[in-house]
């Protein structure tokens, strides 16, 4: 059940390489023996059903959780991501599924959190300009960057979280369901942005439930199922293939529904 696992010629430098990553939460094995490679200038989509372990994997790479076992190699060096600061300083930026913003702080403060300009005498003006620049690149519709995050909608918060991840010129960006809360135009902006980031030679890991979005930008699609690798696909893989890898059966509710509809159409004159 490995699908079509022929990889695209990895001409480019390997940014990130995971071997045998496992993560245990007490009795729950959230991740078991995960292998994953991300090259420079490559968008890897991470797909899987709810609870498959996608967010957990992202958190391991962000330094939020420590893996129970396995090795992480970043730009050819084995690394230990003992806390988020380490991951950030290596150049791994993350947009978390729960966004991880401080609601009591304004947009500028959130974007620059932990990386403020001139620490002993905050340079609010430069930070505000840079914040607007990042937000405008994302075509964000943010009314004011001096309002607390609590006053923003889900989509606006998402954009702030994405803007924040771009601030430090990372080598690898991970986006955990970045388009889940976004409108049509903003989703397109984010997909455009992902492509631009790829052109700049960054590695991207994107998690999404939307197969259209995934196909649109991904160079490879990595499927997780119940915390294990369950196949690597190219974006031209059929929906049937992907769905059965995600759900783990040829005969699943999605394919049953599809065949029912096909039958219904055939039975019509």
């Amino acid at each position: 059940m490995t699908g079509t696992s022929q990889e695209p010629a990895p001409a480019r430098e390997l940014v990130l390489s995971l071997r045998g990553i496992s993560k245990q939460f007490g009795a729950v094995s959230a991740l078991t023996d995960i292998d994953l490679d991300v090259h420079a200038g490559e968008v890897v989509a991470l797909v899987g059903d709810n609870g498959a372990g996608k967010s957990t994997l992202v958190k391991v790479l962000a330094g939020v959780h420590q893996p129970t076992s396995g090795t992480i190699t970043f730009k050819g060096e084995p690394v230990t991501l003992s806390d988020p600061a380490t991951a950030l300083s290596l150049g791994i930026a993350t947009v978390f599924q729960d966004l991880a913003l401080c609601e009591n702080l304004d947009v500028v403060a959130n974007i620059f959190l932990g990386k403020e300009l001139s620490p002993m005498r905050l340079d609010e003006v430069s930070m505000e300009i840079k914040a607007w620049k990042l937000l405008n690149e994302l075509s964000a519709r943010i009314p004011s960057v001096r309002e607390p995050i609590a006053s923003l909608s889900g989509g606006q918060r998402q954009t702030v979280a994405i803007a924040r991840s771009l601030l430090l010129d990372p080598k690898l960006i991970m986006l955990d369901e970045p388009t889940a809360a976004l409108g049509v135009a903003q989703t397109a902006e984010v997909l455009d942005l992902i492509e631009r980031v790829r052109e700049r030679g960054l590695g991207v890991i994107m998690i999404s439930h939307n197969m259209e979005d995934v196909r649109a930008v991904a160079d490879r699609i990595v499927v997780l199922r119940l915390g294990k690798n369950n196949g690597i696909f190219l974006p031209d893989a059929s929906n049937q293939e992907l769905v059965s890898a995600i759900t783990g059966a040829e005969n699943n509710s999605v394919s049953r529904r599809a065949s029912r509809r096909a039958q219904a159409q055939e039975s019509q004159p």
Partner: protein
Amino acid sequence: MTDKVTQNAPQPQLLDRADVRVKHAEGLGGTISAFFDRVRSGDLGSLPVIVGLAIIWTVFQSLNPVFLSANNLVNLLFDCSTVGVIALGIVCILMLGEIDLSVGSVSGFASALVGVLWVNQGWPVGFAIVTAMAAGAVIGSVYALLLNRFGMPSFVSTLAGLLAVLGLQLYLLGSTGSINLPYESPLVNFGQLMVMPAWVSYGLAAIAGIGIFWTGYREATRRREAGLSAQSMAGIVARAVVIVVVLEAIVFYLNSSRGIPWMFGLFVGLVVAMNYALKRTQWGRSMHAVGGNREAARRAGINVRYIYTTAFMLCSTLAATGGILAAARLASSSQQAGTGDVNLNAIAAAVIGGTSLFGGRGSAYSALLGIIVIQSIASGLTLLDLSSSLRYMITGAVLAIAVIVDSLARRSRVSHGRA
């Protein structure tokens, strides 16, 4: 993302004024209506405490005309400074959503330490003071260690600290129970007598105004140069002038009596420094972030443990400083120092002044405003010859009102999306 900033081009629109949905305050009228909007949405700032203070002063003044006399107010400022410094540390701790219940004990311990080292052991007074402050810092670092390493809630660790440090204080003072500090010493003079010469107090008030104008002016020019909206020149000047006039009037009135105590000057200096640290430095930003959402702060790469450690050490050090000032004020280190209502007055002052118990929200100035409220109540009731039983009850009621205002404001902020 690599392209250059296209600022300063002859844009018809300011960078931060592109969205037509947002109301922007224009001119003086706009500023005033924006203020009311903010208050309505639960962003009260110092408003409740200023209203409360006005009520308290009106009531006491009508009951006893001595209350607002310059003489009484100068005494009030002397009394404010000791617990006020302690409350300033509490502001730091509340900012993180934590608590320190042992500040009273730490202040008493510090005063005992100064008494023992300076009077009994004959150390130079400066040395004794620094040692007592360092002892405070050590106590704070223990709380931080217990929280960071063992996850011990500060409520519990500082409650244990309250007893343990009180024990240390009693042990230090031994059987005699109290040490009198020499009356002629500079420390006691500082706590009881030393006031600013008139020209210094007028000068400091003027410098405050100039400082406010200068920072406002610089910020506005930089923002305008960068293509951002900025406060109007008239607004900046008006604000600075109003502040200077009010401050100079207060100084003038107080100078008709003894003048402004140096000890109060020290307290205000600490408040201003703390305000700067909380508002204008990366450390202060991290304090707000950790208090607002600890996990988000950690994921942003902030060293959360370091922030807790600095806050607890700062709080205990300020508590020790307040204790030393209290010893100077009373010219003694006694077993009673730091006991009774010191603890709760310090915490109440921070909360009454507008620092939220929920973390992530507060200002150094709340220590100043809050302690003035509390000392006003104490002083007013003393003038009326009412016992401390009534004082406790009224202070308790004011604290309860402050917490209710805090909770209601928070609810309102949540519903207005400003939590």
